[in-house]
Amino acid sequence: MLELFAATLITLGTVFFIAGTVGLLRFPDIYCRLHALTKADGLGLALVAFGVAILAATPGAAFRIALIWFFIAVSSATCGHLIARHARLAEGGRHD
């Protein structure tokens, strides 16, 4: 039962990843792509991590997975910010 739940979560997470990837490939400009990527991946990762944590046998492992999720979330947010910022600065440079 628990495994089925976990599998569902992981599948759902994967769907978000695929959606994010499609967005990355199909969206017209960098901001839209970032939007698709960060949003979808953030959620996708959370779902997958949660699913895996359920499957993990020990609480210690679950804790580590949580840590991983936390750091990836923080760094991907920062990355998204930096990329957007860089793109905006570059645009500004082009307008000057």
């Binding site: 750091f71 930096l82 910022r85 570059a90």
Partner: protein, 321 residues
Amino acid sequence: MTDPLVIFDLLLALAIVALAIAALSVRDLYAMIVLFVIFGLLSALAWVRLSAPDVALAEAAIGTGVTGALLLKTLHHLRFASGQRSACMTPAIPVPTGVMLANAAFCGLITLGLAVAFLGAPAAGPGFDALVAGAMPASGVDHPVTGVLLNFRAYDTLMEVVVLLAAVVAVWQIERGLSDAPSPEMGEVWQGFARLALPAIVVVGTYLLWVGAEAPGGAFQGGAVLAAVGLLLLLTRAYVPQPHHRGIARGAFVLGTGVFALVALLVAGGGRVAFEYPLDHAKTLILLIEGMVTISIAVTLAALFHGREPVALRKEVRHDT
């Protein structure tokens, strides 16, 4: 029925090859570096599949992480130095397409030959398995890779640290204290992230070093992760290298090599040769060496990223003819 993992392996392999080709053929150098970083991470994944987690860690941290950072820094410098944001850097004489094709065909032939040789080689050939298994109890550590690195083939590892030392000496020699491209302004979010990440990275790095004795990890992986601290400090300009820090930096560069070599030399005696640690102290000595080497690796990698020697800026005399 085929193992589903085989499909995963095949897909991963295809992706790795495709990324390698893409990285070399994409026009934009920035895109090239990004593709390379993905390539490196996927390679590390492939090595995990090949039950080589140590190698995967090293590749991810050093081969991809540090190398990627070095490449990005250089690209930034090149764009700044050439005063433009375009990607084309080299005033190269264009190589005729015919020559390129001939080269490619030549390399293709070589690759084909290597593939044939590889397929003809024994699937799981003879190796050091039995030898290592036999010698592990006397090595002072429990993790075989660490045993090989710091005991059985410690001489290689010492020389590897020497290579690192040579690299930093050469880089300091090459890049004089000229004004560099200013590091980019990254904003508050970045600063905050750095503050958040720093302690975590320190913990992870130290953990990797410590765990190396019995599980994947060790001096190099730990050192590389700690080097990331240095990178963050340099990038956030929380630390700006000063000329008077050079002595300490030099000390840190040579610390690992020096201690390693001294230990190797001093254990000789009483029938033992160099690098032959007395069994009772093997673990302690190895940990000592690993600790010192980790510090050196971390500082050296950070210094390699920073590049130039922090000397007082002055007009440099040039002798171009």
